[in-house]
Symmetry: C2
Subunit: 351 residues, 2 copies
């Protein structure tokens, strides 16, 4: 990043320090459009691409610009718990869309929407992480993807697809995004440099129909300030253009694959037979079902030197009390293996 | 900025690329607290300081986190027109608080609030630029400042003080901020690096009572993403610590003073006697009252090679039709003088 800054600033420092375009730096958008087409073999247009301050910023601004007070917004449950907190900071009617071990249950969502319509209401938005899900690590099946898109299209509901883990794929290729499968106007896809490069950059992107991109660009915020995280975006454009992003992606995938494999092996070795867990093909997370209350277990686990996030944190309907989320992204393999051993011990003491 | 990045990244690159604290980089907050005390000879505490993505971001987040749908928010009229657009992107009941050539008319605002109370309602917030106002360049008198604070305190109304021009002072010292004059909890003061350093950084700060800072830090957005514009903030911390910020401030003030003086001299030479204008002691702007419709005049002025923003843009109540705003920040003195000559010509043709 230091080299990228040293290359970019003498050439484009004036641009990097000026307001910049509301949609984001043109250099970054140009690179991104080519990159996204390579990642997913699906055409992406400049007019359908907006640079954001990352997915959290994008969710916040989607709420501000594309919802009205009281709008019904579904969030899959379990889901990324801090996305829920962003949604809750807006005056929305937030409802759970239950998910099972194959991801979002589209038929259950369809029933919930049918009940809603009987109240004379329609859903505005659905938040979902269909690929390498946070917290479960699973991906929505192709069949459910198509059913979900059909449902959203019929109901006029916008799907907000948090696609932050797409590039962290360890087995085969990632499933096609909802964005690439859906007709225009049904899906807003959120991508980020937070996982595939660095979170401190506060930098991501959004793919949506051109009219929605225009709504963002013409918002008061961007009209006044220009694009979000502009300076970081100019540095990252130089970083990506140098080829360093692709190189880093390969290193990330190789290392995270090693960590996942180590963790899954260690879980198989150390966890009681009463536990089951997901085998993620990408992303950061393993979701473990246990026979115990994982909130109650946490102090015991922490005393033994291992941490996790209790499953109930990721639900908006009180479920998940016996589940827990492990992340294999932060720690080297030997620590992950030791962590699994300690977790197994803590579980065996109470089971 | 290149030197700052080259110094910071080898030492603190890991921090700059990690999530970072929700309140912003500690290094930047530490420098800022000392700097703000020097600027205004008023103590500022770390717990009352938050790093923002600039004043536009701060206004947007204040609306999201500190208002309810339908809340009455006053904005002085005229005021910064793009702040109005940010406020309008939120479901608020926006009302004008008229200003005259001495700034916000506190007695008129008090009457408007009294009428509001007769409807059983109270104002939530007031947006104002009391120092080197955008668009008029004037500063609110000390007497009106104290009256405004008293009114806001009595009514439980939060004053959002856009203090972005404070450091661009050309005559004497800037008036004491509302923030420094008011009891805790009455004023939220917004400061920014956009005018005193560079807008592309998307970096500013907010001073408010510690409980409001906590509300921001504990918001879903910051809990999920960390502080806003974190990477730029880490670079700017190194820039400021090097002494470069203070040096640059002196250069900015000297150059902008020269531009203001040149423009005011040229206006006196070229504008018809039927025009009057403000003589700003700081900031970017001169506000001109003319005898003509300035929207109708604009094509003629532009054909003569001079631009301005018509006064009606800055009002939310349809006033300002014969006023216009000039900015002396962008152009060198000779171009400002020539612009004044052209504007005078365009005005004389229609007066």
């Amino acid at each position: 990043m230091q080299r990228a800054a040293a290359i970019m600033l003498p050439q484009l420092g004036g641009q990097a320090l000026s307001y910049g375009a509301g949609a984001g730096p043109g250099t970054l958008i140009a690179w991104l459009v080519g990159h996204l087409q390579r990642v997913e073999a699906h055409p992406v247009s400049i007019t359908e691409t907006l640079i954001t301050g990352g997915n959290s910023d994008a969710i916040d601004q989607l709420c501000t610009l594309c919802t009205q007070p009281g709008d019904v917004v579904f969030a899959e449950s379990p889901t990324y718990h801090l996305a829920i907190r962003i949604l809750r900071d807006h005056p929305l009617d937030l409802r759970p869309a239950p998910a099972d071990e194959h991801g979002l249950q589209v038929d259950v969502l369809a029933d919930a929407i049918a009940r809603l319509r009987r109240e004379g209401r329609r859903p505005r938005m659905l938040y979902t992480v269909p690929t390498f899900h946070n917290p479960t690590g699973v991906s929505l099946s192709d069949e459910r993807r198509r059913a979900l898109i059909e449902l959203a299209e019929a109901e006029g509901m916008v799907i907000v697809e948090d696609d932050v883990y797409r590039e962290l794929v360890y087995d085969g290729t990632a499933p096609a995004s909802l964005w690439s499968l859906a007709p225009r106007g049904v899906v807003v896809r959120l991508g980020s440099f937070a996982k595939s490069l660095a979170p401190g950059l506060r930098l991501g992107w959004l793919n949506a129909e051109a009219a929605l991109i225009e709504r963002f660009v013409n918002s008061g915020l961007r009209d006044s300030a220009g694009g979000t995280s502009h300076f970081a975006g100019m540095v990252v454009a130089a970083f990506c253009e140098s080829g360093a992003y692709d190189e880093l992606g390969q290193r990330f995938r190789a290392e995270y694959r090693r960590r996942r494999d180590t963790l899954l092996d260690a879980l198989a070795e150390h966890l009681p037979a009463t536990c089951s867990w997901t085998k993620p093909a990408g992303g950061y997370f393993v979701w473990i079902n246990t026979p115990v209350d994982t909130v109650a277990l946490l102090p015991r686990a922490e005393a033994a030197g291992v941490g996790y996030v209790p499953g109930s944190k990721f639900h908006i309907d009180g479920r998940g009390q016996t589940a827990l989320r492990l992340a294999f992204s932060l720690y080297p393999p030997d620590q992950l293996a030791e962590g699994a051993r300690r977790l197994g011990q803590a579980l065996k003491e109470v089971v």
